[in-house]
């Protein structure tokens, strides 16, 4: 897991990439807590989102959960293969299980999110 990865309290992770982009997914903890994933809805590429806004949903047998944008920006790419192979999320949540790429409006916004140790504290409490 990259040291510059940050986490939202709503269990999304975000990792800065080259070219001013950032990749977003959901944490291993979230995948495990949801279990039995059956459906995922992704946002359209090009959509402008605000931090905290729902950008999709992920559904398990027991419930539907929203997927929230950890920062404001534009959706520039989605992992279109993922909804058809949701098991990837369990196998590799921080790699092949990425969900969207965002171009953050303000890259400094990432620093306001939780770092790894703060997120670990959150999910263990």
């Amino acid at each position: 897991m990259a040291a510059d990865m940050r986490f939202a309290k709503t269990h999304e992770w975000i990792r800065p990439e080259a070219g001013g982009l950032a990749t977003v997914g959901i944490s291993a903890y979230a995948v495990e807590a949801l279990t039995d994933l059956v459906f995922m809805q992704l946002p359209p590429v090009g959509r402008k989102v605000k931090a905290g806004e729902s950008i999709g949903e992920i559904e398990s047998v027991k419930a539907v959960s929203d997927l929230y944008a950890p920062v404001s920006g534009e959706i520039v790419e989605v992992n279109a293969a993922l909804p058809n192979e949701l098991e990837t999320l369990g196998r590799d949540p921080y790699g092949a299980g990425w969900i969207v790429r965002i171009r953050p409006d303000d890259p400094a916004e990432l620093a306001q999110l939780l770092d790894r140790s703060a997120y670990d504290m959150l999910v263990k409490s």
Binding site: T35, D36, V38, F39, E59, S60, V61, K62, V64
Partner: protein, 367 residues
């Protein structure tokens, strides 16, 4: 863990899908102690229940269990469905008077108990809520009876194996006195076992120890719901509510308007139910199958060509089928199997088709 009608219960022990499939393939063990267990005894017990339940009790033999509704005559239509329940005639008391057990929903227990108490005659019926002093374990699946019998003596095991569906007996299971019914809420073969509360943990552990190596899993509320949904079984609060027309919900079998000789019975709400039976309402319960895994949930609207035709009462991904299913109340003109309709799931129209219930039927037992 969730608070379910005041009981702290697991939605899942590990995975709803794994627990569900274990129950279909081998066995599942469910702690259903939250269900209300009521005892009705005394020389007047049979006549009293006969006067209160929608299902005939007067002609129930010892060892027979029947699915019934509990109704009152309150409400604008002259009938209110307070609960659905299982009434079992247990072995007679030593003095020869009949004894009955009622199992009611956790969410309705208090009001059903209050209602029944309010109807108690001055003498002849002893009514007790035994929920707290007992525990109830459901052992369900093709290996369930085998697993329970492995914890019993030869005679008890033979009697349990010989139990027909909706029959009950008593036995010693893992050293504990138990009431056993060939009943359940999963669509599988199996038994429900009532033991003293203090013995519950030991019996649970003994059943799991016997069943674990054979593929049994402990199952939570999540699998209980997906299993009963696939089996097409109604759940109070969803398919069946206080104002329900039980005939439209597919529960005609739970209502005996007349006694065995064809004369009208006298339970509360009987005449209102007779009127409803004579003039069917506009909607009926159906099964819906989706191609997608995305589940409709309770309350999802159903449309045909933009016209509202009904509402989903329960929906989920169906682990045994690999796609989503739902039960719904829809207009009669769109209730025939094969009819295509759209279910609005968070505003997105999801195509579905009407299919016969149950969605899943267990394979016939080999002779």
């Amino acid at each position: 863990m969730v608070d379910f009608a005041g009981w702290w219960m697991p939605v899942q022990y590990a995975s709803i899908v794994d627990e569900h499939l274990a129950t279909r393939r081998a066995a599942g063990l469910f702690d259903v102690s939250h269900m209300g267990r009521l005892a009705v005894e005394g020389p007047g017990s049979r006549d009293w229940l006969e006067s209160l339940l929608t299902r005939r009790v007067a002609d129930a033999a010892v060892g027979q269990a029947r699915y019934t509704l509990v109704t009152s005559d309150a409400g604008p239509g002259g009938v209110t469905v307070l609960d659905d329940a299982l009434v079992t005639r247990e072995a007679d008391a030593p003095d020869g008077s009949p004894r009955f057990a009622l199992v009611v929903n956790a969410s309705n227990r208090e009001r059903v108990v209050a209602w029944l108490r309010s109807r108690l005659p001055p003498a002849g019926v002893e009514f007790r809520d035994r929920t707290a002093e007992t525990a109830m374990l459901a052992v369900q699946g093709p290996l369930a009876v085998d697993i329970v019998c492995s914890l019993c003596g030869i005679d008890d095991a033979a009697r349990i194996r010989g139990l027909r569906n909706y029959r009950c007996t008593t036995a010693t299971v893992a050293g504990q006195p138990a009431a056993i019914g060939r009943t359940g809420y999963t669509g599988e073969d199996g038994v429900e076992v009532v033991v003293p509360a203090a013995a519950a943990r030991g019996v649970w552990e003994a059943i799991l120890a016997a069943g674990g190596p054979r593929g049994m899993q402990p199952c939570g509320l999540g699998a209980r719901d997906t299993l009963r949904l696939e089996a097409g079984m109604p759940l109070y609060g969803h398919e069946l509510v206080a104002e329900s027309d039980p005939f439209a919900v597919g529960l005609a079998l739970a209502v005996n308007l007349d006694d065995a000789t064809g004369g009208p019975r006298q339970f509360p709400g009987r005449d209102a139910l007779a009127r409803i039976h004579a003039t069917p309402g506009p909607r009926v319960r159906v099964g819906l199958a989706f191609d997608s895994k995305r589940a409709a949930r309770e309350g999802s609207p159903i449309v045909v060509a933009g016209r509202p035709v009904g509402t989903v009462t329960s929906g989920s991904f169906a682990p045994s089928l690999g796609h989503a299913v739902a039960m719904a109340l829809v207009d009669r003109d769109v209730a025939s199997p094969g009819t295509h309709l759209d279910v609005l799931i968070r505003d997105a129209a999801q195509p579905a088709r009407v299919v016969p219930l149950p969605f899943h039927r267990r394979p016939a037992t080999p002779a």
